[in-house]
Amino acid sequence: MNTAYTKIAITLHWLVALLIFSAFPLGLYMSDLKFSPLKLQLYSYHKWIGVTIFLLFIARLLWRITNKPPELPESIVAWQRRAAHAVHHLLYTLLFLIPVTGWLMSSAKGVPVMYLGLVQLPDLLGKDKALGNLLETTHSVLNYLLLALVIMHIAAALKHHLIEKDETLTRMMPWLKKKTL
């Protein structure tokens, strides 16, 4: 039985985690800035990170479809397994919806996404100020939902590692396991 995720899955997980932890505070900071070149630059970088997260999400989804994730420790009770699965499903859903609402919002606001300054994403919506504002609110609400889920995800992982001392976290951080041996 596998006791850890594959190297590919672990790399993708932590890369996406790093990018989310960059894009989220960047999004909060840039939206409050006064209109300036810095603001325009940060919006571009935020969009580039978002597109990257979306591409990595597709890679993770493909991995997930073609690989069986390692089992949870047997000590975990049924309702906690169901809760963990529900949170994972929601996290994946948000990894799809948040970049997509950002993309649609860019089109509705009339500033298309130019990934890395090189590749322009097609506009799926026409310019529409009211729709742009609605998508902005949606994008922001979904992000706060993501924040809540990420906190639960981290809290659960830490609880299993520190309190129950089981192997839940080491499946995604196998190097922690090696240290204790």
Binding site: F35, P37, L40, S44, K109, P112, V113
Partner: protein, 186 residues
């Protein structure tokens, strides 16, 4: 032959004068002044909602043709709603001191086919610069349609100075596009 030549000449004259008409009733609602530029490499388009055009254009009498365009800068739509509030700022158009931009054509030149060019003075943010604006003129019954574009560097006119002078964020090149419709009806 000697008889045919003058009559052909006369016929040509008649056709020309039938075709040649002065287009002076500008259809503002169908006309447009817009511009393309790049912001962080992203192509954006903007436009001006309010402008006034006075023109008399006769392709057969270019020397008597004239055009004058006045643009209300505050009516700008930059293509980015966040930017629309900034254009009045001193660093951008300083609309308090320079509320209008304008172009006055001093001469027209036929370039063959439906291509023409207008030479004149562009006044923008207090700067007056001699420019040449190429355009096409197409006649459709009583209506004449003018389409042209003109590339300018915004920094030549002091538009977007100070922190905005960095052309990596907002490109220096701006392409101004105009689409004018004028009727020849008296």
């Amino acid at each position: 032959m000697k008889l045919i030549t003058p009559s052909l000449l006369l016929l040509t004259l008649v056709i020309c004068s039938a075709n040649a008409a002065e287009f002076s009733k500008v259809q503002t609602a169908q006309s447009r002044v817009s511009f393309d530029y790049k912001q962080m490499s992203v192509p954006l388009s903007g436009s001006f909602a309010k402008f006034a055009i006075q023109a008399r254009f006769d392709p057969a009498k270019l020397s008597a043709s004239q055009a004058k365009i006045d643009i209300d800068i505050a009516s700008i739509d930059t293509g980015n709603s966040d930017a629309d509030d900034e254009v009045n700022d001193k660093l951008w158009f300083d609309t308090k001191n320079f509320p209008t931009a304008g172009f006055v054509a001093s001469s027209f030149k036929a370039l063959g086919g439906d291509k023409y060019q207008a030479q004149g003075k562009l006044s923008l943010k207090g700067k007056i610069v001699d420019i040449t604006a190429p355009f096409t003129f197409k006649q459709n019954g009583d209506l004449g349609v003018f389409d042209g574009s003109l590339n300018i560097n915004r920094l030549d006119y002091g538009i977007g100075t100070g922190i905005w002078a960095d052309v990596a964020t907002v490109a220096n090149e701006v392409s101004i596009k105009f689409h004018f419709v004028a009727s020849s009806k008296k």
